[in-house]
Amino acid sequence: MSFRLLLWACTALAASFVLLPVLAVLAGAGGIARLEQEAVAAVKLSLLTATLSTLIVAAVGTPVAYLLSRAELRLLETALSLPMVLPPAVAGIALLAAFGREGLVGRYLAEVGISLPFTTAAVVIAQSFVALPLYVRSARAGFASVSRNLEGVAYTLGAGELATFLRVTLPLAKGGILAGIVLAWSRAVGEFGATIMFAGNLAGKTQTMPLAVYSALQVSMQQALALSALLVLLSLAVLVTFEGVSRRQVNA
């Protein structure tokens, strides 16, 4: 009896720990109506860039996740997990070192007239950089749960590798893939450190919601609260939607 009590006590503690700040932020939701133009621009920018980043990450990450689930590529797996453990500011510096004006790749891009820092594209790059490992991990787990024997039987029935992947493996990995999408989107929306370093902070172009919150914070707590409340509500909406979708898919 007392073990169960302990379980519930810990759960209550954890839940309050998480919910309290969230509820405190939502208390400032009243100010959403009074959000300035810049804030609205930040919301639009965040939605656009996060969605784009998630699409890119899913497109690039799915084949990688499948490969990792089938082949023992420890080194690659570790390398791809790096953006996840890097402090965001370090990630930002790394991106500059690669794509900045004097960066490894950036210098050649500059010659062709392509300049990435301070652009909306840079925001997408920064978000994709940090979101990719999250997606790959989750999708990989999804693919790993599909037994190779199942794929093998599909082969004997005449299905080529691509056909098997599309008809058998992918549908069965849906759980991990959808979870990965939610994770990637959330991480992209919340991305701050790498964005501010690599893309800078300009309303309408590179000022995503987290940056807007941070900037607002340096001026007025009320604005920051209202914007944060909006961000929380948005995240909740996405979470609930995806949970619903994934539950229906997985049970289908």
Binding site: L96, G100, R101, E102, P117, F118, I196, G200, N201, L202, A203, K205, T206, Y214, S215, L217, Q218, V219, M221
Partner: protein, 254 residues
């Protein structure tokens, strides 16, 4: 039983230790442009008074919000009157005193990729970085540009401000972007350019850019270490303090 006693003793000691430790630490919130100067000042102050100085550097507006939200500090040094006066009015800070001045300059990366020779070149297709509006350095920069409208024509400041690609949260953020070579130009304090160790080149602003950055310092009303706080402010305003400031490029109020 003995374990319980030991635990209590340990907790008591830690608490007590924390108490006394607090009396021997001084918490200073200072504008980011004061970093190097204050590090030197703190070093000497620590040696003289045996008090450890912990410093928190950020844009003055950020520090102000932190203090408003309950951050514990003993001393606040702001790069503009605006933020420290606001705190004074609310009773967070006692008697703000001016202690230094500065100069705004235009900086470019050492390689000067956009070939900027004067502030007029900012009209061209360049990537300009300045601090955000609420940051003193950002406000000063905008004021300076606006005052140049009388010299270069009414649309000048607007044109230049349209070249801004990022509003940094502190003047050191601006310095970093220029030093890294990512921005073509930035507007910072002359003291920041000095601290950049050769990574940036200075382009002087015309004298018509009338802006007088002024630094203020004050003791926080709820300072935990009032004695040391007041001693620190005194040291800052003393001849030795002014000497150190001057050596870092600040203009000192006599």
């Amino acid at each position: 039983m003995a374990a319980k006693h030991a635990l209590l003793l340990l907790v008591f000691l830690l608490f007590f230790q924390g108490c006394t430790a607090k009396e021997r630490t001084l918490s200073v919130f200072a504008a980011s442009s004061l970093r190097e100067a204050f590090q030197d000042i703190a070093e000497e102050f620590e040696a003289q008074h045996g008090v450890r100085v912990e410093m928190n550097f950020a844009g003055s507006n950020t520090l102000r919000v932190q203090i408003e939200q309950g951050a514990t500090a003993d001393v606040f040094a702001s790069a503009s009157e605006e933020h420290i006066l606001a705190l004074e009015r609310k009773g967070y800070v006692e008697q703000a005193k001016p202690f230094a001045g500065n100069r705004l300059v235009l900086i470019v990366p050492a390689s000067n990729p956009a070939g900027i020779e004067s502030v007029q070149d900012l009209r061209g297709d360049v990537k300009l970085v300045i601090a955000g509006e609420a940051v003193p350095a950002g406000r000063y920069a905008r004021e300076a540009l606006r005052s140049l409208d009388s010299v270069y024509g009414r649309g000048f400041s607007q044109e230049v401000l349209s070249r801004v690609v990022s509003n940094e949260d502190s003047v050191r953020g601006v310095l970093a972007k220029v030093a890294l070579g990512e921005a073509d130009a930035g507007i910072v304090y002359a003291t920041d350019a000095l601290a950049a160790d050769g990574k940036v080149e200075v382009v002087e602003l015309p004298p018509e850019a009338e802006v007088e950055p002024r630094y203020y310092v004050g003791v926080l009303a709820n300072a935990e270490n009032r004695e040391a706080a007041e001693a620190f402010v005194d040291f800052l305003l003393s001849r030795r303090g002014r000497q150190i400031l001057r050596s870092h490029g600040f203009e000192v109020v006599e």
